[in-house]
Symmetry: C2
Subunit: 126 residues, 2 copies
Amino acid sequence: MTRALILLAHGSSDAHWRAPFEALEAALKKRLNTPLALAYMEISEPSLETTAAALAEQGVKQAEILPLFFAAGRHLRKDVPAQVAALNAAYDTSNAGLTLTLLPPVGQHPAFIDALATAITEQAER
Amino acid sequence: MTRALILLAHGSSDAHWRAPFEALEAALKKRLNTPLALAYMEISEPSLETTAAALAEQGVKQAEILPLFFAAGRHLRKDVPAQVAALNAAYDTSNAGLTLTLLPPVGQHPAFIDALATAITEQAER
């Protein structure tokens, strides 16, 4: 197990807010062969730091971070890249050898736009 | 034309942030028979108020608002319901006869979770 996918959501202290992300994680765990983890940018645990530590502990060497955001605002242009850079520096120093890579937010992926359009169309024309 | 669907996004002064929503709107306009409008909760135009006025002008009597949010936090529990209630009260008073209905955020729709899981699976296993 050397690669993993981290789904990164904003985070909230409200368990109702977190429920859709947990539903997505559960749906994906059934389908994906890649190890999967859900992390929160702020407020909720597991944080990105906690998640990275757990993956490193499991022997994961490379993890891609997919932000579950529709679009890239300040959080994804500044806050999250800073978190990722700090973690990459820490893991490089400690020789745990985990490298994190930040992907564009899911909302910028054409397959996501297409899937969302399909879901909305089906609902609108019921 | 009496019914319409309004896609409601958070809003940002950054045109790059708005691009995925505009891409979604364009993709949906090709597929949907229902009239479609994109509106922003705050910061960007068109606001919900501007959009509601344009739809009422076109003779739309009922519009469903689908929040393009993964989950319902304070904005969707408080701010947006207050905007919708104020608009419904205003349109009722003015006899324009437009009724707005707020749907749960798209992230709570099972079809969305399923579509998102499919998009992520395809990407992860490329």
